[in-house]
Amino acid sequence: MPSDQSVIRITKELSELQRSPELSIAVACRDIDVRNIRALIFGPHRTPYEFGFFEFTIKIGSEYPDKSPEVLCTTTNSGRTRFNPNIYSSGRVCLSILGTWRGNTNEQWSPAQGLESLLLSIQSLLSSNPYENEPGFENCSSEADRKAQKQYAQKIRHETLRVTVIQRLEDYLWLRPNGTKKPAATEYLDPADAAEVVPPFEPFKDLCKRRFLWYYESYLAATREGQSETKDGEAFVIMPFESSGQNAMEGKFNYGQLQNRLQNIKKALDEETASWVDEGVQSARNETTVSVNLRHQYEQVVAHMHKSKLAHHINLEGGNPFVWVITYFGPAFTNFDGGLLRIRLSLSPRFPTEQPRVKCETKLFHHLVAPDGTVCYTPNSDRLEDVRSHIDAIFSVFEGGEPIYDPRKFVNPEAVQLYWEGGEAGKKTYNRRLRRTVQQSMDDFPE
């Protein structure tokens, strides 16, 4: 079969996946090279992997889809950590559809499988009780096994936070574990040479930064829970199926340190967002393409709002096209009736490669608004370069009616717990607290 057949099919699959509103997996490749794919899987809800960032490389051979792709996990703490009985520290992924594991015929690869089904199979390995993934340990329920299962989950949760989230973000932000800044590699170079350095291919950098802001409170909550179950300094227990020193998860609990590192990352991200303001002023002064584009988009959005008789106001803060401030009037007959929200959209000089960061500056108790005000919204993935699609998606957060259960959007653990785990009384309390902050918003609004 000629090799371009595999390229045609994988290109189709890639563009479908990238356009889908799927929140738990992401894929990317360099434009020229669809045979080498990077994929990111978000750790699923109610598992020790929750909200972790697990990255894989996927190689598409010329016999694809008649033969399965080759998959390697790259989130391994530089080859030192085995995150799952079936995901080795070497990166090997043992899965029957990859032919790296035995399985029934109907679990094996066929051309009916594809990128998405493959990634979902890998995601299903990241389960609530991964101990059971190991053959021979599937139905273990003795006292000792149950204890080991718990210990396994406890160390996975710690390493999910430390390796997949914290190390990745510190890397992106040039942070050391103690919170100080590392000099960027280019700072060692002559400015003339630095300009020629090809930046590394980091397709998930902006995505992970934004997701970190979504899940920050959940990460902190996980460290508190971990701290209640383990002692800092305690060594991880080695599982019977792990081989110490080569294919295992070894280390020590240190949730106190993880909390500090999470806080340092949060601070660095907030500073980065704040730095876009000055950078934006500079870009506007130089009339960069992005700044001209954003100003143009702003005029169109304002004209659109006027035409559709929407009462909400949008202003550019200090005339800066990179900071949009929205005054949102809560619609009648909803929980937001009578509310007045101030929402701030910070845009990067690298927009749309770097997507906007959105904060509700008015204090609001809402399941899609993180305690720091970060709004969890999902714009139309076909129109990410269009600020209006962002604004529409932000508005729909406040106009959505009854909350929809989606664990990937759990950005406010307290609100989630009340609404979904507190029964009827919890729902009532949630609505009362939401209403109270909405009413308060009118009184608090700056003149």
Partner: protein, 97 residues
């Protein structure tokens, strides 16, 4: 008035007799189009159906069947074994003068 037909020609369109929005499970191209290796649909790039009812471009399924791991099975349901047969064709006739 009498009309004498001096000349006529028949034109027909054809379609595979399968559900309309189906794509080939192997190349994921619509059956109205060819498999990625061919230029013209029809005799040059026929379809084949298994007993299980799954359809594929002939060239796509042949490549799969060649694989040892295929064990001669349908890629979709892993059940059906040969023989594979082309689906029937719908014809729409039209007369033009």
């Amino acid at each position: 008035m009498r009309v004498t037909i001096k000349k006529w020609s028949a034109v027909a369109t054809w379609q595979w007799d399968i559900s309309e929005d189906d794509v080939c499970g192997i190349c994921q191209v619509h059956f109205d189009g060819t498999c990625p290796t061919c230029k013209y649909p029809g005799d040059d790039c026929s379809l084949l159906s298994g007993k299980c009812g799954h359809n594929f471009h002939m060239h796509c399924i042949m490549e799969w069947i060649k694989q040892e791991s295929a064990k001669g099975q349908c890629p979709m349901c892993r059940q059906s074994k040969p023989p594979w047969t082309p689906p029937t064709v719908y014809l729409d006739y039209m007369l033009t003068m």
